[in-house]
Structure formats: structure tokens, C-alpha cells
Subunit: 343 residues, 2 copies
């Protein structure tokens, strides 16, 4: 693939070019790292917003509402929907996607579902790289929607500048089990379907847990959570030490509360910029990205190295017979690959 | 950690020693690969059985019933429960685990939940290694229970000798979307909660889809599915070309149908052995394992190499300023690591 026309197409935000560039990156086809390398210098203009929560919380509807608001402000918006593609729930997710297509007729909107990619590199890295393409194409807001399963919330948090956790009144019972994984990554909590019974209670419970409402006077923050940890509730005479997550109510199906969400996302972004946290996070992510790319390149190197292949072939019989273990043979392969070993 | 006492403890199937060995392996602590290397020669005695399906299908209850049957046959049994630990559904899974503990008082039963591990190596590899420890400790059956989310079914299939997919009558609607990911990995389909309406219909639908009941005369198998693909329905004059997945009904809560499941698991294992497929699969897995271990060792090498660290430090400012990309710097790091580069 020739790079120049793709770059020109991205510059012009041509939907077909954007789609082709994303496919290239998502599938890791020849030239994808050259493309990502070539766009690197123009990244950082987009705000990346993660939206996560349990199945049925209304994430897609809320995402669609955000898309409408940002479009009304004249901003090009991209949506990256990250589904861990469960074959058991495929139907429901498909329904969400179809509904979303109502906003997709607008050329200022780009919607893409990410499927799980093979082991080489993984979904989180691929998602970050797809967001880079969208950033380079000038989408001012990138909404990364992911269903709350497994490790994916944490990975979203490290991809996004702002992370929104969407809950519903029915999630109330789960709030005790939420704490461990979710509390640390949420910049904003949305209590969606807030016209249902239990919404006020959930909101209050969240605020107590966050230490922004009386109930617990103070919430201890484990030191290792660092800048992403919750800040303790503060007395009026203390300077703000960090970001205190906000809790808000929405009814995504009617649009109620979505304007407030947009405002709070702006507030959070202003805090990120003003506090230096945006720069710090992006620096950390660049280091992480370089390590990820390096690890991926190492894996590619291993799988294409003729001497390693020969070794694996030669030693397979010994591994099978129990005379050598995979661990011993891997160590032998590492020795083959070490600097100076073949000179 | 000294290796000899751990190995002796595994040999004696001492629960505390087994638990410690698994923790060592699961957390990738110092010495874990030495342990795995030392037990490699005595692996292969256990039958590894994967049990997967959507949430609420009754996997844990069915697993518990299988444990009881195997215990009645005098076989030591281990259960490895792989939860993608969603913070949103933590409660329900915990309930399952607690229920399972009714059988856990038996010293011939070992139950372990696997949490998601960090990026280095990943959950699938860690699960395989934990199963190795259990195999070495003489557990004749290892039941690997995993909720059907994301990539995990496919990973279970590659870990287990036999894979059981558990569905419930309510799954009927989902059968069309099941096909892609699930049909290829299932050796046995269990229609659980078969006392509910719709069970017969689901069973028939599965059999039609599998080509073992009239409806579709013939089911085409994409060539790349290879030995794990479904065999087409056969005329009486054709020799069996592979394994045709069986469909059976159970009511796990009462134990109905579980004896049949045990019998069919034996039938599948006999087919695996007789056809040479067991040997072929285990050979493929040993090659895969060696590659996984090698990739993990490479990642460790990268993260501990002083010259690479220095390069990343030196080039960070350039990456931040957009003068260099993570991809260029990763390529520079690979050059540093290549054989002969430092001589």
C-alpha cells in the first residue's frame, strides 16, 4: 500500500480512506506500522472518551446522544465500539450497532466496531492504534464504548483521556463489588435510566463511596493508585489535590442529563490540561506504546527467525518424550537470539 | 523457593503444596518456570475437560455433578474456574464458588479460581500452566470451567482435550449467532435445564445445525477448521472421518443426564486416543507452549535490558515532540537487541 494517498485521504477525512486505514491497522497488514509512524506527529488533537459499564446499562444510547451533542457543536465525532465478541451475546450487540447507524448517515460521524484480534499485540493495543488513525483524521471527539467485561475497563481507562462509567438503578446491589476495579478508573459516573426506582439511592451510595457526600467522612486511597486514585473528601480550606469523580443522572433514551454530561466532560478535560495531568498521562502512554510495539516486534522476530524455527523442529521430539521441557527449549532459543551469539 | 520439597508435595498430592505451587505459577513468581520445567516429563496423565457456555447456563452446577461422579469412581478431580473477573458481575460468580465448596471438603477434590493476570503471558497460558501442576499432582480429571465471554472459549478449547458447551433452552434464539465461534470448538453440547420448555427444540436445532439430524442434508466445513471442524453428515458406507459432536440433555440441579455426559466424555477420549488425535493435539500444544514461553521470555528480556531502557529514556522527548514515533524507536531497540549488534 502506498502511504501518500492514505495520508492525504486521512487529512481530508475521507470516509473510505479512514475505513481502509483502520482495516489496515486493525488487521496488522503490511505497512500498518509505517502508517502509524507517519501520523504520529499529528496526534493529540482528539479528546478520547471511554464509556464503559455492564451490559444493558444503555451505553450505546448514551454514546449516540453524545454524538448528537458534539455534532450540534460542529465537531466531527468517531465511535469505536469494543466488543469482546461473545458468541453467546452476539445478537444483542448487533442490535445496538444497527440502532447507532441512525447517526452514521452523517459524514461527520464515523462508527467502527473492533473485533478481538489474535494474540499478537492484543485488542487494547489495536484499539489505541485505531484511535490514533481517527485522531489523525481530525475527529475532535473519539468515543470508545466497551462492555464491562474482564480487563477491558482498565484497558479503556488507559486509552481514554476521560472515562465514564455508566450504571443503572439495578446496579445498586453490585456497588460493593464494583469498588475494586471500577472506582479507580471512573472520572465520571452516570446513573442512567434515572427515571426508574432506585436511581437516587444509587447516586447517593456512589457519592458516599466516593467521599463527596457525608456517610464516610474520609475515604482512604491506596498509594499505588496514584493520580488515577480517588481523592479523599476535602475540607474547604484545602487546595484540590486531584480530580474528584462526579456523579450525574441521565435518561439516555430521552436525552435528559446529557448536556450536563457534555459539560462535565469539558470540566474534566479542563482539569486534565490545567493540572498537567494530560501531559503526564500522554507521556506515560507513549512509553507504554513504545514497549507494546517493541514486544510485538519481538514476537514477530521470534516467529520469523529461521534458526529458532530449526531449533523448535529439532527439539520437538525431545519435548514430546519428556527429555526436554518447553521452558528449556525456550531458554535455548533466547540464547540463539542474544546479541553476539551468532558471531 | 526450593524445588525438591514442592515436587515431593505434588507427588503426594498434598493440598497445601498444590496450592502453593499453583500460586507460584499463577503469579509468575521467581522459580515458576523451573517448577514447570521439572514437572514436564510427568505430564499427560490427566484428562482436561473444558466446560463453557453463557452466564446462567448452569456450568458450575454441572461441574459439581461431574466432580461427584468422578469421585464416586475414585478419581482425584481438580476444578479450575476461569472468570474474566468482571467487576460488574463479581457477586454472582462468587455465589457459584461458594456453592462449589460443598464438594471441596473432600481431599480428593481441588478447586481453584483463576483471576486475570497481567499482560505478561496472559490468562490462557497461565491456565495451561496451572493445569500442568494439577496434572503432575495426579488429578485424573481436570475440569476447566470458563464463562463464555470473548476469546476465552477458544482458549479453553486449545487447553482442554474435550470441550463441553453448555446451553439452556433460553439460548435457542442465539443459536444462529453461536455458529461462528462455538460450533467449531464443541466436542459435546449439553442442553442443561432440560426440564424447561424449549429444550427439545434447542436439541433438535443443534442436531440439524451439526448435520446429525435431517434438515440440512450436508453441512459444509471451511477447510481451515481442520481437525477441529465439524464432520459432515455421513452416508452409512463412509468411514468416520472425525468426531461428530454429540448433543445431550441434562438437569444439572437433579443430576439427570450427568451419567450420560460422563459416558460421552469417555467415548470422546477413546476416539481421541484411537484416532491419534490426542497425540496430534498434544504435539501441537507443546509447540505452541514453547512459543508462548519464548515470547514471554522475550518480553522479560526487553523489560530488563539496560541498553533498551536507556534508549527509551533518551528518545522519549523526541517521541513526545513528534520528531520520532514509538514505531521508529521500537525498531531502533530491535536493532540493539539483534545478534551481533553489540560486538
Amino acid at each position: 500500500m502506498e502511504l501518500a494517498p492514505v495520508l492525504a485521504g486521512l487529512e481530508a477525512r475521507d470516509p473510505a480512506a479512514v475505513g481502509r486505514a483502520i482495516s489496515l491497522v486493525e488487521n496488522g497488514r503490511a505497512g500498518f506500522e509505517e502508517l502509524l509512524s507517519a501520523i504520529h506527529h499529528r496526534l493529540g488533537r482528539a479528546r478520547r472518551i471511554g464509556i464503559t459499564g455492564p451490559p444493558g446499562a444503555g451505553k450505546s444510547t448514551l454514546t449516540e446522544q453524545l454524538v448528537r451533542r458534539y455534532r450540534a457543536l460542529g465537531l466531527p465525532v468517531a465511535v469505536v465500539a469494543v466488543d469482546p465478541t461473545s458468541p453467546f451475546t452476539g445478537g444483542a450487540l448487533l442490535g445496538d450497532r444497527l440502532r447507532m447507524e441512525r447517526v452514521a448517515l452523517d459524514p461527520g460521524v464515523f462508527i467502527r466496531s473492533m473485533a478481538t484480534r489474535g494474540s499478537l499485540g492484543g485488542l487494547a493495543t489495536a484499539t489505541r492504534e485505531v484511535c490514533d488513525v481517527l485522531d489523525a483524521a481530525g475527529f475532535g471527539r473519539i468515543l470508545i464504548e466497551t462492555v464491562g467485561v474482564g480487563q477491558s475497563e482498565l484497558d479503556v481507562a488507559r486509552t481514554a483521556d476521560s472515562t465514564v462509567v455508566v450504571l443503572v438503578p439495578e446496579s445498586g446491589d453490585a456497588i460493593q463489588t464494583l469498588k475494586a476495579g471500577i472506582m479507580e478508573i471512573a472520572d465520571l459516573f452516570v446513573v442512567n435510566k434515572a427515571d426508574r426506582p432506585g436511581a437516587d439511592r444509587l447516586r447517593q451510595d456512589l457519592e458516599v463511596t466516593l467521599g463527596i457526600r457525608a456517610g464516610h467522612a474520609f475515604r482512604h486511597v491506596p498509594a499505588h493508585h496514584g493520580a488515577r486514585g480517588l481523592s479523599p473528601s476535602r475540607g474547604a480550606d484545602q487546595a484540590p489535590a486531584g480530580w474528584t469523580p462526579r456523579v450525574l443522572a441521565t435518561v439516555a433514551s430521552t436525552g435528559e442529563g446529557v448536556d450536563t454530561l457534555v459539560t462535565l466532560l469539558d470540566t474534566h478535560h479542563a482539569w486534565l490540561e490545567g493540572s498537567g495531568e494530560l501531559t503526564a498521562r500522554r507521556r506515560r502512554r507513549l512509553v507504554e506504546r513504545t514497549r507494546e510495539v517493541l514486544t510485538r516486534a519481538m514476537a514477530r522476530w521470534v516467529s520469523h527467525d529461521a534458526a529458532v524455527e530449526q531449533l523448535l523442529q529439532d527439539r520437538l521430539a525431545a519435548i514430546e518424550a519428556g527429555r526436554a521441557s518447553p521452558y528449556e527449549v525456550a531458554a535455548e532459543a533466547i540464547e540463539l537470539l542474544r546479541p553476539g551469539s551468532r558471531v
